[in-house]
């Protein structure tokens, strides 16, 4: 494995610090997890623009909404499961309904969080945030994409959910990577089957592509960083070009990327779909790799889902 793995939480906070040097509106709110979310680095550079709320996610989200009414761009950073589930009603009323310029950053997305177990696995966050009107949902796959997504989220006006990861992920895109908000990324234009992946699962889908190509299949691979608003065209084009679509996400198969893709296809271009993700269950404590193997989120599981669609 010659791959370079990086921590996208660090890519996020480095970018945010850079952006904040020229944008005095940016403030960061913390709920006693700044060393975990990496926002302590922001606090060191901008102590006056870092607000500690203690272990109180609901208060943190509400406070962010109030700051946004004064013209600030608050970044609320905490574990994805608490940013979404714990403070959901606060996100819903005080941020989504108001359309205030609050950025929710869930730093520990998915079961890839690993050993802390199901209490700390965010398996519904994409689903919950995607259902809220006015929210944008972005789930970057690697370092370059995280940097671009962070700058984008800081720049645009309105509620955003940025989903990050605790585990390190392989570098996929280079410095020249062009992040186009709301647009999927076509990594390979195959004609047998399409793999649509987001976040950490892009690297696993790339592994599946290798397995399947070695078996002689032609694989179309799409990266979806913006889950809402999703790139409808790239999905419809894949449906028209290949025989089926496998969605891949480190998230429940209920309500996330798989659902978003299936909704488009059901309405516009009925297509065979298979969803790789957590199959409507909670996972458990173990390493990311062990969990991905046991719960069917690794490259082999994606390849198996693809074969099943073809036969």
């Amino acid at each position: 494995m010659g791959e370079v793995h990086t921590d996208i939480r660090e890519s996020f906070i480095e970018t945010l610090i850079d952006v904040a040097r020229n944008d005095g509106r940016i403030v960061v709110l913390d709920s006693d997890v700044s060393t975990s979310t990496k926002t302590h680095a922001f606090a060191q550079v901008f102590p006056d623009r870092f607000i500690e709320l203690g272990v109180a996610e609901q208060s943190m989200v509400g406070t962010a909404a109030g700051l946004a009414t004064i013209g600030f761009t608050p970044f609320v950073c905490c574990y994805a499961v608490f940013a979404s589930c714990r403070a959901y009603d606060q996100v819903r009323m005080s941020v989504a309904q108001t359309r205030l310029n609050v950025k929710i950053v869930g730093t520990h997305g998915g079961i890839s969080v690993g050993m802390d177990g199901p209490t700390h696995h965010a398996i519904e966050d994409i689903s919950l945030m995607r259902t809220l009107p006015h929210f944008r949902v972005i789930s970057p796959a690697d370092e370059a994409e995280t940097r671009a997504a962070t700058a984008h989220v800081a720049e645009i006006d309105g509620p955003c959910y940025l989903r990050l990861l605790r585990v390190k992920v392989p570098r996929i895109f280079d410095e020249a990577y062009e992040f186009i908000p709301g647009r999927g990324v076509l990594l390979s234009p195959g004609s047998d089957i399409t793999l649509v992946a987001t976040g950490i699962m892009l690297s696993r889908a790339m592994g599946a592509r290798e397995i399947l190509e070695n078996e002689g299949y032609s694989i179309r691979l799409i990266n979806i960083h913006t889950i809402k608003p999703i790139d409808i065209d790239i999905i419809l084009e894949a449906a028209a070009t290949t025989k089926g679509i496998v969605t891949c996400e480190d998230h429940s198969i209920c309500g996330g990327l798989g659902s978003a893709v299936a909704e488009i296809l059901a309405r516009r271009h009925p297509t065979r779909v298979s969803n790789v993700g957590l199959k409507d269950c909670f996972a458990e404590s173990a390493t990311c790799d062990a969990l991905f193997q046991k719960y069917g989120l690794n490259s082999e599981a994606i390849a198996a889902a693809a074969r099943e669609l073809l036969h």
Binding site: V27, D48, R49, I51, L53, G54, A56, Q58, S59, M60, V61, G62, T63, A64, A65, G66, L67, A68, T69, I70, G71, F72, P74, D89, Q90, R92, M93, S94, Q97, T98, R99
Partner: protein
């Protein structure tokens, strides 16, 4: 400056508008709207630095009606202040109206924060107080909270944060009308000792009669000198104040009066 007589007349007008708009809508929350009339009238006509012609003015004081179901009272007072026409009040809760069942900052001129899901307003007010302090603006943030609302855990998260961060540009008026949807607060989930709770969270606390303008004034003046703590004014009030058959009756928490009751209520308010 408006005299106390003028304030009393404004309160009377606001009460009539509250009854009329809830009656016209066929639903709403008269009890907890009538209990905050004097507080809102005093704030908008004596205390708040706001400009009805420029509702989004950056240098205004802010008000969060955290007990969002008191929206009719807020709408009545905003209309009397000139934020929008009084005639618009009859559109409450109707299709296309700017006056939603609970306050919506994106629709209604003069509404500084969306509210309705209880317990969230104090956190938003904290954020505003933080923001104004960061901007080094000597502006103030006011929040009106309900008593039943204080059963929400988020209220105490926010209370702790405001106390710890010494948000002294924040003043809360707590509408302690002692009734909530299902009955007396003391029998649903007693808040006592309420003043002690807030003191324990490092707030400066005053208790007043929330229907007495002189007491509202005295408490607010007292708070102006308090710079090391956020301000809590526990306003003892009467739910349904001004309408005999609504006063102290939890059945009027969230129910519209019929035509006959509306007429009776308006007569009593006018006579009161």
């Amino acid at each position: 400056m408006n005299s106390v007589v003028e304030l009393k007349n404004l309160a009377k007008s606001a009460r009539k508008e509250i009854i009329k708009m809830i009656s016209a809508a066929g639903s709403g929350h008269p009890g907890g709207s009538l209990s905050i009339v004097e507080i809102l009238v005093y704030l908008y006509f004596r205390e708040l630095n706001v400009d009805p012609k420029n509702p989004d003015w950056e240098d205004r004081d802010r008000l969060v009606l955290s007990k969002g179901h008191g929206a009719p009272a807020l709408y009545a007072v905003l209309a009397l202040k000139g934020f929008f026409p009084i005639s618009e009040l009859s559109t409450l809760r109707k299709t296309g109206s700017r006056l939603q069942g609970h306050p919506d900052m994106s629709l209604t001129p003069g509404v500084d924060m969306t509210a309705g899901s209880l317990g969230q307003g104090l956190s938003a007010a904290n954020g505003m107080a933080f923001g104004l302090r960061l901007r080094k603006r000597r502006l103030r943030v006011f929040a009106i909270m309900g008593d039943g609302e204080c059963q929400e855990g988020q209220v105490w998260e926010a209370a702790m944060a405001a106390g710890y961060h010494t948000l002294s540009n924040l003043t809360v008026l707590l509408d302690y009308n002692k009734l909530q949807l299902d009955g007396p607060v003391a029998r649903i989930m007693d808040l006592e000792p309420l003043a002690d709770k807030w003191r324990a969270f490092n707030w400066e606390v005053q208790e007043i009669d929330g229907h007495d303008f002189a007491e509202v004034e005295r408490a607010l003046e007292h708070m102006k000198a308090v710079e090391e703590r956020p301000h809590m004014i526990i306003a003892h009030t009467v739910k349904g104040k001004g309408v005999s058959f609504m006063e102290g009756n939890p059945a009027w928490h969230g129910r519209a009066p019929n035509a006959e009751q509306t007429e009776q209520a308006l007569k009593e308010i006018e006579g009161g």
